[in-house]
């Protein structure tokens, strides 16, 4: 992976950065309306696609090119139409992302990782009793080590575009991505791990910011809270076979200053295993399928 960081060097850098990062965050302004400085306010025109993308970048990330961390937590449910819904376990999640200008838009690079936790105790789930099969399964913690995409003005109006909704001081950027593609794990070879030969999922994201915060001319990053919703098939590690139903994730998130502001269970787990996920990737990597590697 381009820009890979040596694990030990990365871990030391992260740990020494924690104290400074927290001090900087305490001085940040909340999502609610921020007091305007005289002469520093530029009206927000979201009908202009370049300004829309700029505002979106400052909401989800930082237009200066700095790494931005996101804290997230939520719950994971099973929904089986005609049968019912079940709260299975919870999740802690983090993301680090970086935006930089490209020739025609913005390059967005991020890594994200999570841990599943017991919904009652809050402890890391490493072995989970699957109530639908009656068996213990080893839990595979979620990670997306390097994700890159380019946001381009001519994507507006397509499924790749960024939509927005605003009312009063509230601006919400949202994105719905639905995927249907040939599964890497076919039922014939993976009867327990694969629900279908077509992998399908939908991810719906909402990012809320304050219009008055976005109108601060010098604000390369504004406070943000949001919500991630995912509907998809059973993950392979649940060993559900072709049982009907959907796994639904509901996560809420916000920007935070750095690794020190993440959940301790998640932070400790990934600092041990792969601290490089706490640094936004540099350089674009091809999708796993084009590198000849199976997707997780």
């Amino acid at each position: 992976m381009g820009g890979a960081i040596h694990a030990d060097r990365g871990r030391r850098a992260l740990l020494t950065g924690l104290a400074g990062a927290r001090a900087a965050f305490v001085a940040a302004t909340p999502v609610a309306a921020a007091p305007a400085r005289r002469g520093a306010r530029v009206p927000l025109d979201l009908s202009n696609v370049d300004r829309l993308l700029d505002a979106y970048v400052r909401t989800e990330g930082d237009s200066s090119g700095a790494d931005v961390f996101c804290w997230a937590e939520g719950s994971i449910f099973a929904w089986i139409p005609g049968v019912g819904g079940y709260h299975l376990f919870d999740q802690q999640r983090c993301a680090v992302r970086r935006f930089e200008r490209s020739a025609h838009g913005w390059l967005h690079q991020h890594s994200d990782a999570g841990v599943y936790i017991d919904k009652g105790t809050g402890k890391l789930l490493e072995l989970w009793r699957n109530p639908f099969t009656g068996r213990d399964v080893e839990v595979s913690q979620p990670v997306n080590a390097a994700v890159s995409r380019e946001h381009l003005p001519d994507q507006q109006g397509s499924a790749l575009g960024t939509d927005y909704w605003d009312k009063g001081d509230t601006v919400c950027f949202y994105r719905n991505v639905f995927v249907a593609r040939a599964a890497d794990m076919k039922i014939a070879q993976y009867p327990l791990q694969s629900q279908a030969d077509l992998q399908e999922f939908g991810e719906l994201d909402n990012f809320f910011a304050s219009r008055s915060a976005l109108e601060q001319r010098d604000a390369t990053s504004v406070p943000m809270v949001g919500c991630h919703s995912r509907i998809g098939q059973w993950p392979p590690w649940m060993r559900m076979g072709q049982q009907r139903g959907y796994l639904i994730a509901q996560l809420r998130f916000k920007k935070v200053a750095g690794v020190g502001d993440l959940h301790p269970v998640l932070r400790d787990y990934w600092l041990q295993r792969d601290p490089s996920i706490f640094v936004a990737p540099r350089g674009i990597t091809a999708p796993a399928s084009e590198r000849g590697e199976p997707r997780a």
Partner: protein, 315 residues
């Protein structure tokens, strides 16, 4: 590290298939499906001194939820939002069908042991590109125009402190000045439009809904004694079967709904064409109920759909 072999996998698969659908769920009585989920972990105490809220106290948590989701003063108030509806069909590409615009008008009243919510909702559908209100929608699978049935619902309910953690749950997370509240619930009940009696409009003998509602507010607003309503934004995500008016019959598929919303002061903050459409259908839905109606007498979306479809069918 796992020491499983392919033979272990095959034996496990055969055993699972032999259990059958009934056995899978009868083996898990602890996972009774229905209203509410939980427990959802609660975190945090916010504020200081006399203005402190402890979310582990059910009464304080419920009062705070009412302040975030509504208004403790009893005043009429509105939630207004805009969303998308996508068809999600196993084995087929997904399709964004249309947008939806919704508002809820309600008032809360404190009662012994909790709160009454007197609530009405209205919703319309819009073209995702032109944002025009849909009076006709082209069903891409049937290749014919369908007349949408807008959303009109009235369902008041009681929120009792004693029911928290049983009939309903409120999850709360706190991160500095940000407070996140969530509710999730699942409904599986006999359908008002079963496919035997409504072959064009009924998808299944069971109506199903899974819904997840998220609220975002500031701790400093929630503990502020001068506020009876905290500024809040939110997102509702839900998964249902086909709307009956889509005329999809028993074709497989789900609808994925997502709506982002905020509090607004009055109807003047809601687009005029939306308000006019509701006024033309039933002006009762421009205001919150003044009296509580027991849930089994209330109008639900499905019952309203049935009433309209029965009229269209001449029943």
């Amino acid at each position: 590290m796992s020491q499983r072999t392919p033979g272990d996998d095959r034996r496990e698969l055969l055993q699972m298939l032999a259990m059958g659908a009934g056995g899978l769920f009868s083996a898990t009585p602890a996972l009774a499906a229905g209203q509410g989920t939980g427990p959802m972990r609660v975190s945090g105490r916010i504020g200081r001194g006399a203005n402190t809220i402890d979310f582990t106290d059910p009464s304080q948590k419920l009062d705070a939820f009412i302040k975030v989701e509504g208004d403790q003063s009893g005043a009429e108030h509105f939630l207004y939002g805009y969303g998308t509806i996508t068809a999600y069909i196993d084995g087929m590409p997904d399709r964004r069908l249309f947008d939806t615009e919704l508002y809820a008008v309600r008032r809360y009243r404190r009662i012994d042991g909790g709160w009454l919510r007197l609530h009405r909702e209205a919703g319309i559908y819009r073209d995702p590109t032109t944002r025009a209100i849909l009076t006709k929608w082209r069903n891409p699978w049937l290749e014919r125009d369908i007349e949408p049935i807008n959303i009109l619902q009235e369902f008041s309910r009681r929120y009792r402190v004693a029911d928290l953690g049983r009939a309903f749950n409120i999850g709360v997370s706190v991160n500095d000045d940000d407070v996140f509240m969530q509710r999730s619930f699942f409904v599986v009940r006999p359908s008002e439009l079963n496919p035997r009696d409504y072959p064009v409009h009924g998808q299944d003998h069971f109506y199903g809904l899974s819904e997840y509602v998220n609220f975002f507010a500031k701790a400093s607003d929630i503990v502020n004694p001068k506020l009876t309503a905290a500024p809040a934004v939110g997102v509702t995500n839900s998964v249902t079967g086909w709307f009956p008016w889509l005329e999809m019959g028993t074709a497989p598929g789900q609808l994925v709904h997502q709506t982002r919303f905020t509090k607004v002061a009055s109807l003047a903050d809601i687009p005029a064409d939306f308000v006019a459409a509701v006024r033309a259908q039933d002006p009762k839905f421009l205001a919150a109920p003044t009296e509580f109606a027991e849930p089994d007498l209330a109008t639900t979306g499905e019952r309203y759909y049935k009433a309209v479809i029965d009229r269209r069918l001449g029943r």
